[in-house]
Symmetry: D2
Subunit: 358 residues, 4 copies
């Protein structure tokens, strides 16, 4: 058993991490923290946990202090900037970190500053962080695991954003196979449930604002854009431009990302709906959490709710040379909390699916 | 006062037509028909109309029969194929038609057969029908109006689909200005409320299926694709390819269509967020029903619910040379019933906004 | 035309009042006020009003100041305590008031203090205020109207709460007919959409809290309890006890109140489902806004949305001697804004349905 | 391991039973049947089960036939009348049955005929069936378990309806303690998610019908009424009349039942909010699945979703001598499937919480 803490456990992602970790056989939840809810029980903040868990929030400092429990791992579902303030000290204690904030996702401190409007205060750690999308970066995560095990070097994982997770899983087979026409732009349109906007009540999250409404937002400036472009470029092994447009719809949890990729002339000459379908099926054949839908069908977000699963459907339109692929995830689960645990399983050399198959 | 009938009034679009026409000062609702609900009152089928209307469904034949009421105009919110069976006889009686089905939208009978899987039985009328999107085809509609008035020739209007309406209003300024890079494909992603799937209960429309779910559907083969491509090509005055992907979300009414258009190199050299915004504002300055959102904001579907309004937001991303424009409408109103009345106003030389400004 | 102002127009009830008044032929909306949103346009706060209204919020003081516009009437959809601070000065200016807060609903200052936890600061006005439920207090409202017209005495109407409106319309026929067993307690269970909780975002109004949830709240201490008991006692002409339990459900607008009344032995001896149905139909035969459902059917809240209508269904259970009656209204419309306008129509000797029949 | 089958597994309750049984350590799911979906995989009918289960529907006959698998237990989530046709033959084979239909809930065949409009075809089994609400009939269930174990007599459990489950758990402490004023009528108002109406699409379950609507239904004639009265009378040890009014609200799963009970004069003389709260806490102190809310708070249905938990809140109103108690459950779980498994655990002498604590 490894001792773990969730720092920032009172938000939606934090609570989902608690839910997943309570059922995990190899991680023992030693502490949950929230500076704003410290002193309250988990069930007071989330009545769902009544009789399911007997936990009380402490503040971040208390959770991280050396007490009789030596922590092995900390999950950090905190707002951006809060993580980069906390991570250096945690790593120095020899505790591994899965950061669920945005602070260690971009490799480039200048890009971070450009998109987040504030300098990065721990830029030297950016190169050490591995992007925690196992289906794309499993070997890198395993290097971290080996270092942790052999050299006692704590690992730093930057868990991806929800939109980048769904978008990457939708586009990955085409990008990795080098089929994308690199002069083109990958167009990504996604729809998210409102839990992605967080637990703090605002005009935007009021029921009467969300209900019976859909709208685009953050067009051309959503912060997940550079994160997606970075991953897509890595997968394609050249620079890939993306046009990412998120939308909000009246649901609590769940997300779909639909990506549209034009194939290169060479690729299009050989592409058929059947072999594109096969490309996806082959790519994900060994993946425990990614399911490719049968030909002609597109995935539903409700099928993956409360789980680490991602469902991917794909179509090829020969009249436009375009692949349209759609991926559904639970934005709080595979899009945040459950995927963080998937990464933690890898880092601690556990079976990757431990505690997540249900 | 003109006498009008709604043939197929028991569906959602039909009921919305009734709602709009009841408040219209110049159209008198002489008959509502439904072959399946004939004999029932409107309020029995739609309790909303209790005390608002005292109307009873008759069957189609009865509604169209020559009685003491001479009809001037018939609205046809019927399934495709039903309209092309009915329209020739109605026109022969000298009655104008606004067909809200798909039967007269495509100019080309072969394309109709390819997409709808059945031969067109009134192909000679395709050339006579005008596509009823006033913001794009107002002059053509006015020609119909003039012929109706001077030569007693009944008009045939093909009211657009909901997705094509929202998509066209989003893309029109760029296409008309010739800014679109014609080697590219316009990528359209749209989200609709479930009323678009019709009133007949199915697995797809069950509350438990729609609620807490989003998904893409009809990818690469939705029947609104050729309709959108036809209109876009007309506006751009050359062949335009589109990749249209609709999604369903848990709302009853409302729709957003987000279009992504890459500008030609020449256009991109001069484009700025400000002049693209101005292009949209100028295009729609005189339009009574299209509102361009302030810079940096995207429209909400809830703002246009139950109305003939369309709200359009636009962004220009200089890093990709792409215009992203998002249009929200009420799929049953501007996307079907209210827009049909807007067309009827034009055909009968009424003020275009009569009965629709609220 | 009478000049009217809405003081506190930025809340949900205020915005609904604006919506109704914009379509009213005899009331001219001279000012809308909000101390928190002063300076913003209506469309900035509620995008729905884009192109529908060109109004800007001023602060309360500005709206009420003597300018070139002499106000005839002020609507006060403000929080309780705010109204009793404002009303005396407004009346002194000779301006009539429809108070939509709770401040002038209870006749008894001691009861107000007991339920609202604060002394009433204008107790002498309590006796002057008429409870604005026309179906129960029309003659009293007409006395106010006569005084306003003949003696230039400004009227003070206390518009009822939403739950009391629906509950009263459900119970009124039995209570007025003296059929209720006065040793018993009227049991009232109601369900409201979340707009009743107001526009200010809170944990309670967050989409993720409301969605996929139902719960009771305020059991045995909801402030609408004494208001309901006061009206029921007035109608029955003796003391009537009520047990009122409100619930919240995942909808924005709409409400149902289901009341359960045990008939006295004498009444039960003669009661049948048929004559109880007739009692309701007769009671409401002349009411423009109350519709009694056909036997065996219960009303839907969606049928009355955005309107001043109330739908009432009634059943009589001979095995328990109980009448169960269910009334649906739009909590913001008949439950607040539209009913306030109905009262204003009476006060100004207009046709009671002016601007409200749609 | 015991071999179990779910007969009628394609409905919502059936699918929920499958979900629960897949995670159960002591029941092996040997067969799932559906006459209408036979031949399809579970994931085809419910995409949620993709990668979670590899099961295929067979028809009822095949599932029940003696093959290489000897069944120990059959769950019967079938429509009423279907169960009484199947149960005698199943019991004759020595297989125990948890019937989730309504067929064996009422003790009295005449009452069954009166409420269900059809004669009971297996009336001799009514006396053998035990009502499967463990919190009220645990000792009776244990007698069945003992007979099953010692005498090889198969058990027949009639799993309660969802409304009766929630209503009984809300009222039980008062009824059992003899505090209820027996001349009075227990008033029950409940709200259910639409999954209670079943999977077959109808006008009633269409998203556009359910969304943004609440309404009462089945007033004075809902079939759960005699079932509730029978249980209440058993608990109070004398005849108890109930007035049960169900409502529908726009959610998929979840239910609240609010019961209002007037205390006898004697009981009221001693009642306080504190000791009524204590009565509830004491009653349920040893119950694994019933949680009593803290004083002054009412339960939320979302807290118990997907679980066998019931949350109960209680208030005492000294001004009316009334206890108001509100119970939330998941209508498909504690209200049907999970509670059936709870009963099965008892019948097979397993720990009552096996497979249900999560």
């Amino acid at each position: 058993m490894y001792n773990v803490a969730v720092i920032g456990a009172a938000g939606y992602v934090g609570a989902e991490l608690v839910r997943v970790l309570l059922a995990h056989p190899d991680f023992k939840l030693a502490a949950i923290s929230s500076n704003s809810e410290a002193g309250k029980t988990l069930a007071q903040v989330y009545p769902y946990f009544t009789e399911r868990a007997d936990l009380t929030f402490v503040d971040h400092e208390t959770a991280l202090a050396e007490t009789d429990t030596k922590l092995d791992l900390v999950f950090l579902p905190v707002p951006h900037t809060a993580a980069m303030d906390l991570v250096p000290a945690i790593l120095e204690k020899g505790i591994s970190v899965v950061d669920v904030s945005a602070d260690f996702r971009l490799h480039d401190a200048a890009s971070y500053e450009a998109w987040y409007g504030t300098p990065h205060t721990a830029p030297d750690l950016l190169a050490k962080a591995v992007y925690g999308l196992p289906e794309a970066f499993r070997s890198e995560l395993k290097v971290l695991a080996a270092k942790r095990a052999s050299q006692q070097e704590p690992a730093l994982v930057a868990a991806p954003g929800c939109y980048p997770t769904a978008s990457t899983l939708a586009a990955l087979p085409v990008l990795k196979a080098g089929l994308f026409n690199s002069n083109d732009v990958v167009v990504i349109n996604a729809i998210s449930g409102i839990s992605g906007a967080g637990k703090i009540p605002t005009d935007t999250t009021h029921f009467c604002s969300v209900n019976e409404n859909v709208n685009a937002y953050g067009v051309a400036f959503h912060r997940h854009t550079p994160e997606i472009a970075q991953t897509f470029s890595h997968l394609a092994e050249r620079n890939v431009a993306v046009q990412f447009t998120p939308h909000i719809a009246p649901l609590s949890r769940g997300m779909v990302s639909t990506v549209t990729l034009r194939l290169s002339k060479k690729a299009a000459a050989e592409a058929t709906p059947e072999n594109i379908q096969k490309l996806y099926e082959d790519q994900y054949a060994e993946e425990a959490f990614v399911h490719v839908m049968p030909p002609g069908t597109m995935p539903r977000s409700s099928s993956v709710i409360y789980s680490n699963y991602a469902h991917v459907g794909v179509a090829y339109d020969a009249s436009t040379n375009m692949v349209v692929a759609s991926c559904t995830i639970d934005n709080l689960a595979k899009g945040a909390a459950a995927q963080s645990v998937q990464c933690a399983n890898i880092i601690f050399n556990l079976n990757e699916t431990t505690g997540l198959k249900k």
